[in-house]
């Protein structure tokens, strides 16, 4: 009986010691100073009003993200979501759960993890050719393919022109409908990105001097540019052509 108790207490003693041993083996973490010397996000405490039918957000839910500021400092593990209607990035403050419209001019890029697919999406604060007026504009554009020729998409959300009626507090209210209107941009090395449509003709117009090679390559790979995935594939092939000097 006494022997059995001894064994039992010895086992318990070993179990209690186990975590101490595990903690002692923990490698020295480098995260300490970074946690203290982190940069701060900055922006307006603002909740966009709901005045449309449809979502303003590229991804509806808050996504765990990292932000790189224009200073090069990084802010990690923050909850963000991108508003395609305003082309603004919103931060959900920890603890107080306020929505903050981040100061766009202080952000170089952000990287968010799609809560649905777990995919890492990189957005850059990019200066692009304005398609509506002369000059350039600054937009948050998602990087779809990086290479000599990089492909970006501005996940724009805009009013479709249609209206719908919704009940708000017992009253029927007419609301304009929102829908995605993605705009693709191609950037050759560090040149100002130019707009492109996800269509073979648009691609040919962008590279007039390589028309024949592109047409051949697309035929060879049996690519018909009808959607985003096909456009990305086409740009990959064009990058291969550029790399091989064709």
């Amino acid at each position: 009986m006494i022997e059995a108790m001894k064994i039992r207490f010895f086992t318990a003693f070993l179990i209690l010691l186990l975590p101490v041993g595990l903690m002692a083996q923990q490698p020295s973490s480098g995260s300490g100073p970074e946690a203290l010397f982190k940069a701060h996000l900055s922006g307006e405490v603002y909740t966009p009003p709901v005045i449309h039918s449809g979502s303003q957000w590229f991804i509806g839910d808050w996504a765990n993200s990292n932000v790189t500021l224009i200073t090069g400092e990084k802010v990690s593990d923050v909850m963000l979501r991108y508003n395609g209607y305003l082309d603004e990035l919103f931060w959900l403050t920890p603890g107080t759960f306020e929505q903050v419209r981040l100061d766009k001019n202080l952000i170089r890029q952000f990287e968010m993890e799609d809560p649905g697919s777990g995919e890492k999406l990189i957005f850059k604060n990019l200066e692009v050719n304005n398609i509506l007026a002369p000059g350039s504009i600054q937009v948050f554009a998602q990087l779809l393919h990086r290479g000599d020729i990089s492909l970006y998409v501005h996940r724009k959300i805009r009013e479709t022109g249609a209206t719908t009626s919704v009940m708000v507090g017992g009253t029927l209210v007419a609301r304009r409908v929102l829908g995605p209107d993605y705009q693709y941009y191609l950037q050759h090395r560090s040149e100002l990105p130019g707009a492109i449509q996800p269509a073979r003709r648009s691609l040919m117009r962008t590279f007039p001097q390589h028309r024949r090679q592109i047409r051949q390559a697309l035929r060879q790979h049996n690519i018909r540019i009808r959607n985003e995935a096909q456009l990305i594939y086409a740009i990959e092939i064009i990058n291969d052509l550029v790399r091989n000097g064709k």
Binding site: R8, T11, A12, I15, L16, L18, P19, V20, L22, M23, Q26, S28, S29, G30, S31, G32, P33, A35, L36, F37, A39, H40, L41, S42, G43, E44, V45, Y46, T71, G72, E73, W91, T93, G95, E98, V100, D103, K104, N105, L106
Partner: protein, 589 residues
């Protein structure tokens, strides 16, 4: 049943505890004895005349525990009383820093030393800091009493031992040095070849000095730092360890301090300390005090040479508090000072050196040259906003007497009321355009937070350059502002700000810029060089030499006009931290 309970209890403990995850506890965990980061310092000479430059090379022997090496080191010039005379901060690039320290004319004759450490080394207290003894003679000291006194303590045997050590170095065959001849004429060319012999590591870092033999007066000259490198586990290092208080400066300078209760002196947790510097753009950093009241800021290059304002955020204060800033240079270092070994000929040597230095001063000869490849880290302002919502330039309007008038006439978004001798301000919310925020806006003068608007009320049009109005409810990290007004003055009005008692203003921090020793090249002598006396006692000083295994190096220099025996001293350390030195001799006739 009892076993199951005990197992579950044990499993509960498996969860990492809060203290294990605490940032401070995790820093440098496990370091603290054998293989910790250390420094090695080598100077051009041991004996100097006040008014000369001292040239040094600092080498960081990295920790053997895969920690990122420190990039910042501290050098203190101390008297024998351990009193600091001057303090320097140097940047290490590829583990090396070199430069020069001007020894002021007014320094009295005596024993001095350089005390070196990194912030990481501060964990182990001053006794493990690296020291390099030097002896400085005042240029106008004719009695040289201290030298006679020092000489009395040296017997013949000590003298011989010292000379033997001085003249042969460690001779551990890591490198071989040789010159094209052993005897040279005045302004003659000397070719010094350095041949790596036997070092296991493929790279070594060296410095070479060529100076008159009597310029070396301390034994063990080459090995300042050896005692630490050869330390054994279980030494003083373990006992002096202060984990959780010191960060390694692997990128930026770190400003550290404490916030204490004014009455009890106890460290206060959770207070917000604001850091800003006078500037033409609104910059602000903040830090939250930890459980012991300590706070830390990373000081990037933007803050260099600028006054630093540390102000407590009153919204986080419950009782009167005071900010204390840790003084990195408040260290005495080891008590023991090494004694110089002077020989009989030193009186004449020093008298001649004093004269040489005086002559060089008359001719305004300075051998210090700036190092062109300066290390500069990225500097960035921690901006609160990229652009203000509105900017008002008062000079574009009729002159206004004071800020109350400016506010009333020019800043429509600001409401300032005087009631019972106290001003209250509120800012119009941009989002509503008709509602004022309930709280007062944050006010800054030249980027310094102003807690009381009274302090800027005297500013009229002629003193205000611009006023930035940012009338949003603004978030900056955890801080919230009910609008921001940043006033920028023409005449550095921030200097007149009366800060709360709890605040602290620090003078600008700066790095010692690297510099080299310039020695004339007589192979292409110009007439000017020919007529000016060349009274160099230091013929050459070459720091930062990177020697690769199997690759010979040639160093070329010229002798001066002073005849005598010169020692060529090479001090090096392999990439693995093994030190070596070699000495050779030449004569100038």
């Amino acid at each position: 049943m009892c076993s199951v309970f005990l197992i579950l209890t044990g499993l509960l403990f498996l969860r990492p505890t809060a203290s294990a995850a605490s940032p401070l506890n995790s820093v440098d965990a496990g370091s603290g004895n054998h293989g910790a980061e250390s420094l090695l310092i080598h100077t051009d000479r041991d004996l100097y005349i006040a008014g000369e430059n001292l040239y040094f090379q600092l080498y960081l022997v990295p920790s053997q525990q895969n920690q990122a090496p420190s990039r910042i080191a501290y050098i203190l010039l101390q008297r024998i009383t351990n009193e600091n005379i001057e303090t320097f901060i140097v940047r290490l690039s590829d583990h090396i820093a070199f430069g020069s320290i001007y020894l002021h004319d007014t320094l009295p004759t005596g024993n001095y030393r350089l005390l070196c450490f990194t912030n990481r080394m501060r964990r182990y207290e001053g006794n493990n800091y690296i020291t390099k003894p030097i002896f400085i003679v005042n240029r106008f000291d004719e009695t040289l009493e201290k030298i006679s006194t020092a000489r009395q303590d040296i017997d013949d045997q000590m003298q011989e031992e010292f000379q033997d050590k001085r003249d042969h170095g460690s001779q551990n065959n890591k490198v071989k040095i040789s010159t094209n001849r052993t005897t040279f004429g005045r302004r003659d060319q000397v070719d010094l070849s350095i041949e790596p012999k036997d070092f296991a590591d493929s790279i070594a870092y060296l410095s070479v000095s060529v100076a008159q033999d009597k310029s070396y007066v301390f034994p063990d000259h080459a090995f300042s730092g050896r005692q630490v490198l050869n330390r054994q586990p279980g030494s003083i290092y373990q006992n002096k360890s202060r984990p959780g208080e010191v960060f390694a400066e692997t990128r930026h300078l770190i400003l550290e301090g404490m916030v204490r209760d004014k009455n009890t002196g106890i460290g206060l947790e959770g207070l917000r300390v604001l850091l800003s510097t006078p500037d033409s753009l609104l910059n602000l950093q903040y830090a939250q005090t930890l459980d012991d009241g300590s706070f830390y800021f990373a000081i990037n290059d933007f803050y260099l040479n600028k006054p630093l304002y540390l102000i407590l955020d009153t919204s986080t204060m419950n009782s009167p508090a005071l900010i204390e800033v840790a003084d990195r240079f408040a260290t005495k270092g080891p008590e023991k000072h090494e004694q110089p070994v002077f020989s009989a000929g030193h009186d004449e040597f020093i008298a001649a050196s004093q004269e040489y230095v005086s002559i060089q001063k008359v001719y305004e000869i300075n051998h210090q040259s700036k190092y062109s490849d300066l290390i500069k880290n990225k500097e960035f302002r921690p901006l609160v906003y990229a652009e203000p919502n509105y900017t008002v330039y008062p000079e574009m309007y009729e002159p206004l007497r004071d800020f109350r008038e400016i506010s009333r006439e020019l800043i429509g978004q600001l409401r300032t009321r005087l009631s019972g001798g106290t001003y209250t301000t509120r800012m119009l919310n941009y989002q509503t355009a008709y509602q004022f925020f309930e709280d007062a806006p944050a006010i800054f003068l030249d980027a310094i937070p102003v807690s009381d608007i009274h302090q800027i009320m005297h500013l009229g049009t002629e003193k205000v350059k611009s006023i930035e109005v940012h009338n949003y409810r603004w978030a900056y990290g955890e801080m919230r502002f009910a609008g921001i007004m940043a006033v920028f003055s023409r005449n550095e009005a921030w200097r007149l700000l009366e800060l709360p008692e709890s605040s602290k203003v620090l003078e600008g921090m700066s790095f010692l810029e690297p510099s080299l020793y310039y020695d004339p090249d007589y192979s292409q002598a110009t007439n000017t060089q020919a007529t000016i006396p060349d009274l160099r006692q230091l013929l050459a000083w070459r720091p930062g030499i990177r020697l690769t295994s199997g690759e010979n190096l040639l160093i070329r220099f010229h002798t001066g006009d002073i005849k005598g025996k010169y020692l060529i001293r090479l001090v090096g350390v392999t990439a693995g931290g093994e030190m070596f030195s070699t000495v050779s001799e030449i004569t100038v006739e």
